[in-house]
Symmetry: D2
Subunit: 334 residues, 4 copies
Amino acid sequence: MTRAGIVGFRGYSGAELLRLLDHHPSVKPVLLEHRQDSEERTQPIQSKQYPRVPCTPEAVKSEQLAVVFLATPADVSMELAPAMLHAGAKVVDLSGAFRFRDAATYSRWYHEDHTAPDLLAETVYGLPEFCRERIRGARLVSNPGCYPTAANLALQPLVASGVIDRTTGIVCDAKSGVSGAGRKPSLKTSFCEVTENLTAYSVLDHRHVPEILMVSGIEEAELSFTAQLLPIHRGILETIYFRSHGLSSAAELLEIYSRCYEKEPFVRLYAPGAFPDIRSVDHTNFCGIGVKFDAATGRAVVVTVIDNLVKGAAGQAIQNMNLMLGIPETEGLL
Amino acid sequence: MTRAGIVGFRGYSGAELLRLLDHHPSVKPVLLEHRQDSEERTQPIQSKQYPRVPCTPEAVKSEQLAVVFLATPADVSMELAPAMLHAGAKVVDLSGAFRFRDAATYSRWYHEDHTAPDLLAETVYGLPEFCRERIRGARLVSNPGCYPTAANLALQPLVASGVIDRTTGIVCDAKSGVSGAGRKPSLKTSFCEVTENLTAYSVLDHRHVPEILMVSGIEEAELSFTAQLLPIHRGILETIYFRSHGLSSAAELLEIYSRCYEKEPFVRLYAPGAFPDIRSVDHTNFCGIGVKFDAATGRAVVVTVIDNLVKGAAGQAIQNMNLMLGIPETEGLL
Amino acid sequence: MTRAGIVGFRGYSGAELLRLLDHHPSVKPVLLEHRQDSEERTQPIQSKQYPRVPCTPEAVKSEQLAVVFLATPADVSMELAPAMLHAGAKVVDLSGAFRFRDAATYSRWYHEDHTAPDLLAETVYGLPEFCRERIRGARLVSNPGCYPTAANLALQPLVASGVIDRTTGIVCDAKSGVSGAGRKPSLKTSFCEVTENLTAYSVLDHRHVPEILMVSGIEEAELSFTAQLLPIHRGILETIYFRSHGLSSAAELLEIYSRCYEKEPFVRLYAPGAFPDIRSVDHTNFCGIGVKFDAATGRAVVVTVIDNLVKGAAGQAIQNMNLMLGIPETEGLL
Amino acid sequence: MTRAGIVGFRGYSGAELLRLLDHHPSVKPVLLEHRQDSEERTQPIQSKQYPRVPCTPEAVKSEQLAVVFLATPADVSMELAPAMLHAGAKVVDLSGAFRFRDAATYSRWYHEDHTAPDLLAETVYGLPEFCRERIRGARLVSNPGCYPTAANLALQPLVASGVIDRTTGIVCDAKSGVSGAGRKPSLKTSFCEVTENLTAYSVLDHRHVPEILMVSGIEEAELSFTAQLLPIHRGILETIYFRSHGLSSAAELLEIYSRCYEKEPFVRLYAPGAFPDIRSVDHTNFCGIGVKFDAATGRAVVVTVIDNLVKGAAGQAIQNMNLMLGIPETEGLL
């Protein structure tokens, strides 16, 4: 049985990693105790106990961890990743710390210096649908952000196929459940502030934008991205608008996706005019994509959904781990 | 005391009319019983009883109703409006029946024939911010749709000022609470289908689109409009995207709104980069507008919010009634 | 591979059966089409297709169904159960039709005549924790109601042990998510009626009361049961109050449960003063039980939770099926 | 125009005081800035500005405040109340600091010493339905807790009339919206922890219990009280169970309430078997009471609802202020 360490297991992504690994047939979780600042849930007597060790290089070695998941803030990930790698584990980092090739992009969008820039060159961006081969060989994989995962799965095939009229711009209107903001209490994520409400935030300047640009090949000036906080626990829906040239029907739009994703286990397409809702991907690693196209005017709309804690975080992290360790890619995820 | 009849008082808009008129200092509600197909709420003993009469021309006369609100489906409104007018009452219709000048537009978007086309020529569209003087003199006012109210308050001043680059299109991504779908039970509005979910619907073909075009002056080919069902009771937020030419700052964008709305009692503006959320207009007749503009690329985002049952329905209907009856416009609404 | 038919697969319990059987290693679902009055969910292209046949005795035979689940209203269950049994399938009925030994009790609480009374004598009540052996040998199992499942798991061991002072009565204050009311649209289960609300219903006369009396051994005059509709999708929490004689500590109370449930795979106990919440059993077949006892006054409180669609319906139905078919009891449920 | 100071105006109760005073015809709010640790809501440009001064005795005098509301934690209230009184203002305290006649009871339930015990003797408990005359003459009124307000309005008339069989005990199963826990962020009140959940807390040892005992006349050993956190913003529903002797019908039970509350403006009764839901008192100062009684067994259930932020906090505080200042009791509250 392969053993995988989890740092940040009390947070929402970390807890989701634990939930998923619990069903994984060939990997067993080990909890790495880094900071104890967050409350644990009340548990039944005799509930399942996972091995729990300090988060140290020694523990990585003695526990023979093949991989360590960092479900931690970016600053903690920058501190821990070098040590975990040095101790011999592969690393999947769920923070934003290692998502860009250069430290300058990180600094611009995360407003702090990068403290482990030497690792950026070797880091592989963990979106398996587009980077599968490089993930297989990576020591350090940077798990994508939740919004960029949905956006890039919807946009990359269209940009690559050239059907988007990029001169008129692309709009991505994104809505996310509250768990995307993490488990740390804050006024913005308090029940009374969120329920029966919808709030726009990071309008045109969300830190996930550069990931969308990097993967999709869109230019910054072409993309208008806005995030909105939904009164739901988990799930993301993004509504993407563009104008097309040289596209004659919705079927043709769908065909671009079909060709790209026909062998992908986690991308599910809908008939033209039918759309996935957030419920349809709840607690799954699927990404759902639906399209609408008005041939007379060239207006196109793509709706894409994921569960932000699964395909947008822990599920994709396990998908990456499977690839890195030579385990079948869908194991523990279907 | 002026008396106002309400048809459809069991529905959400009708009940909201009743709630608001209850606080109106110079108008008293009279319930007009048209169909009894919908359940009433359990009431305390000795709860306030409103006069309740059959919905007939005779009752309109005997009750001396100065105005009748039709909070009814479009087909019922087309049937009742002529009779109520003939009985001497002014009419504010909250359905989609009388929102267009020609029956053909109605037929195209509502998929049925118009049965009272003779009234269309004299009907005044009840968006006071743009049609105030004509509303004052009207016999029949068509209360705007909820989505178009928010969209037009955000778009009309910008289109009129010419700052939108219309060649690149305008996106209006709209999200609404469930009460916008009415009180009649349906699977789509069942609690279990809506909670912890978000669903896109009427993508590019919502029947509210022609109202936005009519008031804002935008062409159909220029506008991409999508509606989404939020897991909340009431409230609408619309995120509007466009590209601008000839605009140098967000302050300039705000200035366009300030000039247009400086004397408007129900439009509230936010400093650039600050945005209203749905909570900020809950149970009020306000429309909130916030802006973001990136001068380097011309990308602009406008966020606009209303309570769909107040400024998007019953509140605006009372605002129209006030104008039609010579009552101060804000009476009963602040 | 054993095959199991599902009638009522579009309803919430039926859909949950399908979700669970999808992960069951030794049973495959077959959809039995009985009435087509309910809408199906939008599905992705190439989504998994289950065999779908008419709900007839012929289909039961030709599909070689070992068991048929009736996730149907009581009147439909009374019609279908005899036919399915006659066709050679075992039956697990999720309705209230077969929960009592005599037709008179059914008539009193369900306000209609029983149309298949001949089957009542052989029916086994499907609460495995107390009826396991008889379930193994049954042709027809009546799956318990959701409220009684939680109430009886909490009450039966205490009643049996004699620690409850029954002269002072027992209170069971029950709260349920909306899915307990089924998928059929109604005003009571509409989103706008339920959200941000709590409603008491069936106060002292809920039809689930006789099931609690039957299993726990409590007398009707001793029990006060009230149901309340929570603004959540799924889950039940019941708060049970009684006074004790001859009990000296919460630990002793817990000990009664421990002895009764030490080998039970689906009952989870909490340390005195710790309580399960609804979240802790979400999408699981577990029942959680927590206790508080004040020795000075004899006041005791027991909090019990289940997922009404799993342990309260589909999960328990599969647990029963496993027992009836000689499959390990927890298969497909952990 | 009378002027009223509010300390703690950023909290939920304080903000509700501001919302209500905004509509009060004869009192104007003044914000007293005590601590600035909590975030304020984003406001529209030119939103209404209230006078804002430091929370000092000097400000109380110079602003000529007739009354000061302390919407503050108990320790802050114990610090501020003497100073505000000394500066010449009357005080309505919304915390638990002054609810008991003796410091020992406070210490037992709030687990800290009382730092202003000298004020306890003169403090009047602010439940107008039972303490109206003493409130009129008070300098310092202690506004009741939210749970006790609902419980006492339901229980006091029944206890006084002697229809409760107290030897069998009384159960009060209470459920509250999240705003009852205040605006300070915490894990327990985070959206993701609360949504789609229900949690029991303070089982048998809630600090509101002594207030119920004090007003209703019940003994501690007779009452079993449990609180539960609902996934809603505001509102309380309490389900009260007892056994009766000498009561022959639900009508008789209702009659006890009718006699007690016939002149009360804020208590609303329901016909036997009809029950108020939380929605029915949303944003109002009403308390709704519904009853069910089974004459054959003596089992009785009372359901009582309030809005915890209005009748359970700010609304009742204004009701108290009106009485203290000789203003009509319902002013600003209907």
